[in-house]
Subunit: 374 residues, 2 copies
């Protein structure tokens, strides 16, 4: 059986970038980091993932998600390039709107699954997951000789997540935040500096993302939210693995890779099959749609003791046949079982299907396929 | 003064890929990881960086550099695409040759600095530093409608570095390794499996890189080298920061970023200014060549106690004027001072120039500009 990797320390360098908020996270005793887009993502603060989970569901957390880098696309051909990069129909997108956009290559393999912010008719941000979308966009633009400027601006998102998020944000940005609809953004002022504030975030508990647009203001933004949140039990946090799996929130590099297409990842609602819309990978995606996907993301629950971290994938079996693989798994204290996200083969993807799996130890565990969110 | 980031633990997930050698590194007690190309780079094994340094200069080490992912470019337009991506003249490159190739964008900003392996006239690998060159190459190929296949093969390099490397490799791959010249490769057999072995590596101590081409053989390759090296004092290792800085080996993301051009990074010898050669960024690079670079990489030495890790950059001053910035620094036990790599402004880049700097603490340190390698 494969031994789980130790949680070794992360070596420090300029290449793995710290963020405008890093000094505050360090002062709060960050205990774990991940790396996303060459940038640190603080992940633990001395509390367990379970304690963080309950806190997130009841109070409000500040998440340093500076690693959600922005790929800025500006210029006369910006709208054209953005539409070429995604099967989602962006033709009717409005300024002030956030759109979850799967990005695909010529074989309909997923390159990334960012949130698109439309700042103006010729000005977009892609708030990216973990791959260098800037290089992809630049390569396409140069190859196609498009008139666009593509860059990574000095923008470091701070997520405010949890049921008390709106109350906290309103104390710092004013009551106008209540008018921001889900997946919309407004420009609000912080100490006289206009900043984009969106009702969005990588949890199912509600909240906002503040697109800090000047690194020098990072500490004062953090401090203002921290001070305003004292009586709301504000705490540092990060995307919570239990909450994410239960909520069916996929993660690029985990559930989604370049080997997967949007239909496998249950993202059909973000794909346009109208023949009048052109984008890279259109013919490949239409062909997959016609044939139907052969595997698809599902929830999986299984028993036994709390499972170890899933550091690669764990194969699933149905009567000794390969049935798919789990890519993320963790113990849920609310559902009182292990919860997982996996890619299930068509023959075995029905809700309720019984499966077995090994979690990198010698125990054979029984489980079943479940609907998302759990 | 900015506090140095703590060495927090690295959170485990599928997204941060382990390697075919990971179980052996864990068994050997890896204590630090870095992340390069979404893959772990084991960095410490309970010994200090200084102990690793002396060992590397005297014996032989196995480095798990699987994170040097290969971007494979194959097909009728492969040579054309490769040449478009670099200002280095590849027209005379031979099969069996490794070429260090700076990759630049339309503004001559550095995208990566991989080693190119020419496997056949229509078949190349780019052995990359830390950025998604695959997306850059794919974007260009799609935009230009080139006939190429671009993919990441199942190849996980294992570096064998140090003065006893040749002796060790010969015991496992046979005496033919002695015929491999510097920056050339041969296909040699391991247990009947042909594998590329190159005389190359990210140290100045000599050695080889084995391009393991089947993950399933990773543990047996490691074990064969380990067993054969027992009397050579073989040890696990990794690119050594002291050795790298003294040797003037630049690192993408540290000394080299997209904000830098090849002339700033002292890579002019890898740039062709022959007007008959076309590549992306040609006019920008020619303009920089005509005007001359305004800053350039240099060595820097400075005094005081051993410096802390350089997690961002440290500005250099000459008589209270900005003179450049250090991006990597560490104490050298051989030179008995701190050694660093930095980008020096033209007015202050002469060898011998006296500088001052702060290393994130309150001490003002005196230093000077030195030649590379030190």
């Amino acid at each position: 059986m494969k031994k789980q990797p130790v949680l070794a320390k992360l070596a420090v360098s300029r290449r793995l970038r710290s963020t405008p908020y890093t000094p505050r996270l360090e002062a709060l005793g960050v205990s774990d980091y991940s790396i996303v887009n060459h940038t640190v993502l603080p992940k633990g603060f001395g509390r367990s993932t379970q304690e963080d989970y309950w806190h997130l569901r009841e109070h409000v957390q500040l998440w340093d998600v500076s690693c959600q880098r922005q790929v800025e696309i500006k210029g006369p051909d910006a709208a054209r390039l953005v539409q070429m990069m995604t099967p989602r129909d962006c033709r009717e997108a409005q300024v002030g709107q956030c759109l979850y956009v799967p990005l695909i290559d010529d074989k309909a393999g997923l390159i990334n699954d960012p949130v698109l912010l439309k700042l103006a008719e010729d000005h977009y941000w892609l708030s990216i997951a973990d791959s260098d979308v800037l290089l992809w966009a630049k390569g396409l633009a140069i190859g196609l000789n498009l008139s666009v400027q593509i860059d990574e601006p000095d923008v470091s998102p701070l997520a405010v997540q949890g049921p008390k998020a709106e109350q906290l944000i309103a104390r710092v940005f004013g009551d106008a935040v209540s008018e921001i609809r889900f997946f919309r953004f407004s420009e609000l002022e912080f100490n006289g500096h206009p900043m984009i504030v969106a009702r969005s975030g990588y949890s199912r508990q509600g909240g906002f993302e503040i697109y800090l647009n000047d690194s020098k203001l990072g500490l004062s933004l953090w401090d203002a939210l921290w001070a305003a949140g004292e009586d709301l039990d504000v705490a540092p946090g990060s995307p919570n693995l239990i909450e994410r799996v239960e909520g069916g929130l996929l993660s690029y590099g985990n559930e989604i890779t370049r080997e997967n297409n949007p239909l496998e990842c249950a993202l059909e609602q973000y794909c346009c099959f109208d023949s009048s819309l052109d984008y890279i990978g259109k013919s490949a995606l239409h062909a997959i749609k016609n044939a139907g996907p052969v595997r698809q993301v599902r929830g999986v629950v299984f028993g036994g003791d709390p499972c170890p971290p899933c550091s690669s994938t764990w194969p699933l079996q149905v009567e000794e046949q390969y049935a798919g693989a789990v890519s993320t798994a963790i113990w849920s204290p609310r559902l009182n079982c292990n919860v997982a996200l996996g890619m299930l083969e068509k023959a075995h993807w029905d809700i309720g299907q019984a499966i077995t799996l090994h979690c990198g130890d010698d125990v054979l565990r029984d489980g079943r396929v479940v609907e998302l969110p759990m």
